[in-house]
């Protein structure tokens, strides 16, 4: 058979980073050089990661397409497959199919300000596009990142947060939910929507990218509207249970829209057209 669309690439777990309790990042390298050479993806896309004998699980590619030679994924141990992944060691071989889905239209954002707003484990899908933008920094004006988690220990990519904090060309605001702060916490304390309102970033010629748990998203959109952001300038990603990643297995659709094919990246204007089924 020529093309088996379900056949994963073999990937070697090159490096494992503990991000937060139950959250790990894998740096993955293609076992076969030819696969590596033929592989291309863009910010916003996702894949099916698998442990042979356990199964497949869907999450984004968390590294930037500007970083060649590897991909990264960040996952929280919650289900069967993520638990099996967590049991992998450096050197383990896993499967990866992808890339699937649409992209953040980063080329269309050139010359604009970028405002990233993320909550908890939803920084990974955004980290891809953040690094993509920072690796071509001259193309954008102000870059602001507002990131919050339940507690200090739940913040992921702490080493990169420090990096962004130090950079003069990035404005980083971190926050934790009330009660989640540690004694030496120097960031904000408060829920993400509140902190966005307080920071009051300008909506003038600005693209807002928002990823987070549903409740954070729900309360952040009205704040952005108040700040003058139009629905067309607010981007987010949807996630739904998936099996195939290419519009056949039949479960990720929201009305007519397939999250795996038409998404996962949507503008708020597009979201408002969808039925309440996500």
């Amino acid at each position: 058979m020529t093309d088996n669309i379900y056949m994963p690439y073999l990937m070697k777990v090159e490096k494992i980073t503990w991000e937060a309790p139950d959250v790990k990042t894998f740096m993955l390298k293609f076992v076969n050089d030819e696969d590596q050479n033929n592989f291309n993806f863009k910010a916003g896309q996702f894949g099916e990661y698998s442990v042979y004998g356990t199964g497949e699980s869907t999450f984004c590619i968390a590294s930037s397409p500007t970083r060649k030679g590897y991909i990264e994924c960040t996952f929280r141990q919650t289900g069967k497959v993520t638990n099996a992944l967590a049991g992998c060691e450096e050197g383990s071989i896993i499967g990866f199919r992808g890339p699937y889905g649409n992209i953040f239209p980063i080329d269309e954002w050139k010359g604009k300000n970028l405002l990233f707003i993320a909550g908890g484990i939803a920084l990974p899908p955004m980290r891809c596009v953040i690094w993509n933008a920072l690796d071509m920094r001259d193309n954008f004006r102000d870059v602001t990142i507002i990131y919050g988690a339940r507690s200090v220990k739940d913040l992921v990519y702490k080493y990169e947060l420090e990096d962004w904090e130090r950079r003069k060309d990035v404005k980083l605001i971190t926050t934790v939910d009330p009660g989640g702060e540690s004694p030496d916490w120097k960031g904000e304390i408060g829920f993400v929507p509140t902190i966005v309102e307080k920071a009051a970033p300008s909506s003038d010629d600005t693209i807002a990218i928002v990823c987070g748990p549903p409740v954070m998203i729900k309360y952040t959109f009205p704040v952005l509207a108040k700040l003058g952001f139009t629905d067309e300038n607010i981007f987010t990603t949807l996630e739904n249970r998936m099996k195939c990643g290419f519009g056949k297995c039949g479960r990720c659709n929201v009305g007519k829209v397939y999250v795996c094919k038409d998404g996962p990246v949507f503008t708020l204007a597009q979201l408002k057209e969808l039925p309440d089924e996500y």
């Binding site: 058979m1 020529t2 093309d3 088996n4 669309i5 379900y6 056949m7 994963p8 073999l10 698998s50 042979y52 004998g53 356990t54 199964g55 497949e56 919650t78 289900g79 993520t82 050197g91 071989i93 499967g95 549903p214 996630e239 739904n240 249970r241 099996k243 195939c244 290419f246 519009g247 056949k248 297995c249 039949g250 479960r251 990720c252 659709n253 929201v254 009305g255 007519k256 094919k261 039925p275 089924e277 996500y278």
Partner: protein, 341 residues
Amino acid sequence: MNIERRYVRNGSLEKLYEIIKANSRTVIGPSTRNGKISFKRIENYKELTTDYIQTTQSSKETAFPRTEKILDYSKNAGSISVRGTDPNEIPDIVLWGVRPCDTMGVGELSAIFNWDSKDEIYNHRLSHVTVLGFSCSKADEYCFCTSVGGNPGNTEGSDILFTKTGENDDYLAEIMTDKGLQLVSLASELFEKDSNVDKAKNIADVPVRFDREQVSQKLEKFFDNEQWVEQSLKCLGCGACAYVCPTCACFDIQDEAHGRSGSRVRCWDSCGFSLFTLHTSGHNPREVQSQRWRQRIMHKFSYMPDRLSVYGCTGCGRCSRACPADMNILEHLISIQEAIV
């Protein structure tokens, strides 16, 4: 190609079967066991059931088996070897005695498996199947093919369609494709010149009960309609409707491990199951049965026509026959068409 019409005498069908077997093709056809008629591998012509309205299961399994191996893997000392499905394992099949509502379903399944990326596992299986359709000379109250673009003598999806004639139970054979011609060439003496059989006179009368385009249009503004709750009150979420459906293609992907080796399989699933869309977080976008029932109808009569230009229903009526709670899709579709929105 042009349709070729031929005349096949009743006694010749058994001869055709023997010639097919002699050419080492696998024959799969309807056979009765424990009062149920299902498609099975036929080893002897007498095992074929000829007098039936509908098999319990559709014939989709020949191209879309309920469990399809995607790959085999084996783990040895830190490395893994993975092997895809071997095309040589896929046999040449003659699918015998398929009703037009199942042959029509082939086009709908193919649309799902080939829009955007091509599912070559499915395509490869299908390319090895020669479909011998048999028109329906009778129907029951569950049949509604004429409401969804089909009819009891529909040639769509058949390589050869046989229609029983009134005279001596002989058959009209309509040869539709090169695959059909190829089969005929093995036994050309059995396919006599057509003596102008009146096909329409020899097929069942299935009245048109609704208009699928009208249903589709109605569904555009039907997402929040209260009918979904009403219609699905009886639904047990057992998924039987999806398993017997000739066009339901939703699937799951699972790993089956046996020690250090195993397989990854693609297996039938159903949008009627509560776990179908459940997130690991516990969130479920289709939390209650009415939302799942809505998905089933919307997918077949709104999303598929919109995205793939085909409907996901051939009017075979199996879902209604199989439903343990006696839900009837025909009644539901009529009431959607008649609803005032």
